[in-house]
């Protein structure tokens, strides 16, 4: 890399209204490259809405989003993928009838979608994206299940593949929306290791309810409440912040450790 910018993602004054309801009241967020930046907050704080804005899944009502030096505010989600933005979903959204390998192949080729428009070339050779797919399969520990339809995987495996779908695009920034939602206690540690490992090559923006994970792996934490940023800081500062404690009604924020 010739230059590493100080800020990879800069969102300023993001407003989102659904009819009369305002989900986001002018949110600012700056994410530094090669960090894990978590967004936490009670249910309904606007975390997922903010994600939708940043990844382009849903358009903004107001504000500006700059990604890697480009203004992407009005770009649709599929275009932002080519800029290096990839995301996972809170509710698992895989191609259920397609094999794990095919899911990842599609995600890997999605960065250069024109190549997928060929009605003649078969999905082998360069279009199979084999080395990336194999890499991701290894990272997810799903190599053994490469030919299994995604819908037949266990919940924990599906959640890992959900992260893998974002990873296969080799993005600059990975947005993970509650990657551990609904996971059993046994799978949590695998997921934590997986996310921690992402920081070496990517910038991670994470929504997560499991405070143990958030406090352990985040570089920066943004706390949201009712569509606004309540406070932002390092994990220790967040843990000690009175406003955060109040917003979270007691000890949820500390994960029972402090």
């Amino acid at each position: 890399m010739s230059h590493v910018p100080e800020v990879l993602i800069e969102a300023s004054g993001i407003v989102k209204r659904y009819g009369k309801f305002t989900a986001l009241h002018g949110v600012d967020l700056r994410v530094a490259p090669r960090t894990v930046h978590s967004v936490i907050g009670p249910n309904g704080a606007g975390k997922t809405t903010l994600f939708h804005m940043l990844t382009g899944t849903v358009p903004v009502t107001g504000g500006r989003i700059v990604f890697d030096g480009h203004d992407v505010t009005t770009e649709a989600d599929y275009r932002r993928v080519q800029r290096g933005i990839a995301r996972s979903f809170q509710v698992t959204a895989l191609f259920q009838n397609l094999s794990v390998r095919e899911n990842l192949r599609l995600a890997a080729l999605g960065v250069t979608p024109r190549r997928a428009l060929s009605c003649w070339r078969e999905a082998d050779g360069p279009r199979a994206c084999a080395s990336i797919v194999d890499d991701v399969l290894t990272r997810l520990a799903l190599t053994r299940h490469a030919d299994t339809p995604a819908g037949s995987l266990s919940h924990g495996q599906q959640r890992r593949l959900e992260v893998g779908m974002a990873l296969a695009a080799r993005p600059k920034a990975i947005f993970l929306d509650e990657p551990t939602s609904g996971m059993g206690i046994d799978d949590l540690d695998d997921m934590k290791q997986l996310i921690r490992g992402l920081r070496d090559d990517h910038t991670v923006v994470l929504i997560e309810h499991n405070m143990n994970i958030v406090m352990d792996i985040s570089d920066t934490i943004t706390v949201m409440q009712q569509g606004r940023v309540l406070v932002e800081g390092k994990p220790d500062a967040i843990r000690a912040d009175d406003r955060v404690r109040a917003a979270y009604l007691g000890n949820m924020i500390t994960g029972g450790r402090a």
Binding site: V81, Q82, F95, S118, C119, E122, A123, T148, M165
Partner: protein, 329 residues
């Protein structure tokens, strides 16, 4: 080799079995003509998950284009066929670009609305289409070069051979398209559109290309139908044709291209046989459609496949896992 080309070989077998078992060359040709139309529909329904009630537009359009060109100009027939294919693709792209703005029920409604508009347009433009009477006296001359007959098309069986060759070529091309990165991306879009967009695919572009290919193949079927019967009737562009193509597609089974050949063959042959027994035979067809909708979502092909696995005792086959289920909406 055998495994790789098994579906094409099955289709080739069908084109050989038809002349051996049927006495009417026209009936055999009809099977292949509708099989082409059903293939076009399957690409939308089975591969992309788009339930189009507008396939009759492209079928009728193919018939009219060929009919008008052969009755008003002295252009050779192959050029008229190619023109039908091109126009089919273009109009399908136009109709598609309207319809894919919506999903689900409203998509279906938009295709229905387009079907109605094209029907009444054909009904009104009597100078060009013959209106209610249809376009009559479409010539079917043998293909000749310099006074020498190259491909005779006089008798029904000669014409059948011509259509069978075209059918097998188109089937091979469509198999390749379905297996291409494009075809596999369509399957992904069918499975989960939101995710397909989230990983970088402009879903509408893919749907539009699928529509254009579907329209091209369906218009080719319409053109061959007009050549076969010598007329381009108003009924070819009617809503009923759309419905018939859809019913054949669902009965055959979606998601596998050879299933479309089965569906068309079954419908055309059953209609021919049942209509001699009982004029209200469509009632029986309704019962079959209910049975398919209730118990056999993968259509005749799915039933055949299950039987095959039961007999041979194995599951899956070469890429059985990638065979898709037929419950798209």
């Amino acid at each position: 080799m055998l495994v790789r080309y098994r579906f094409w070989l099955l289709a080739a077998a069908v084109t050989l079995i038809l002349p051996l078992t049927l006495s009417s060359g026209t009936l055999a040709t009809e099977v292949l003509v509708y099989a082409l139309a059903v293939l076009g529909c399957n690409l939308l329904l089975g591969y992309t998950g788009l339930l189009s009630f507008g396939q009759g537009i492209f079928f009728g359009l193919g018939s009219y284009t060929l009919g008008i060109m052969l009755t008003r100009t002295s252009l050779p027939m192959p050029i008229a066929v190619v023109a039908s294919i091109v126009l089919g693709a273009v109009i399908a792209a136009v109709v598609g670009s309207f319809a894919i703005r919506q999903k689900g029920t409203y998509f279906v409604m938009l295709t229905l609305a387009c079907a109605q508009m094209f029907y009444f347009f054909a009904y009104t433009a009597t100078d060009w289409t013959g209106g209610d009477n249809g376009l009559l006296d479409i010539p079917r001359k043998s293909l000749a070069l310099g006074g020498k007959t190259l491909i005779p098309l006089e008798t029904p069986w000669q014409f059948y051979t011509f259509v069978a060759v075209i059918f097998l070529i188109v089937f091979a091309v469509l198999l390749r398209v379905a297996d291409s990165v494009f075809g596999r991306t369509l399957l992904a879009i069918r499975d989960n559109e939101t995710r397909a967009a989230a990983i970088g695919y402009h879903v509408k572009t893919f749907k539009l290309v699928a529509f254009a290919i579907s329209g091209a193949v369906t218009a080719l079927a319409g053109a061959l139908h007009a050549l076969m019967t010598g007329i381009a009737p108003l009924s070819n562009i009617e809503y009923h044709t759309s419905e018939m193509i859809l019913v054949m597609t669902v009965i055959g089974g979606t998601g596998n291209l050879f299933a479309s050949v089965l569906g068309a063959a079954f419908y055309v042959l059953a209609a021919d046989w049942l209509s001699t027994l009982w004029p209200r035979w469509l009632l029986l067809l309704g019962l079959l459609l209910i049975a398919v909708s209730l118990f056999m979502h993968r259509g005749l092909w799915g039933v055949g496949e299950s039987l095959w696995y039961r007999i041979t005792g194995k599951r899956g086959g070469a890429n059985g896992k990638l065979d898709t289920q037929g419950d798209a909406t």
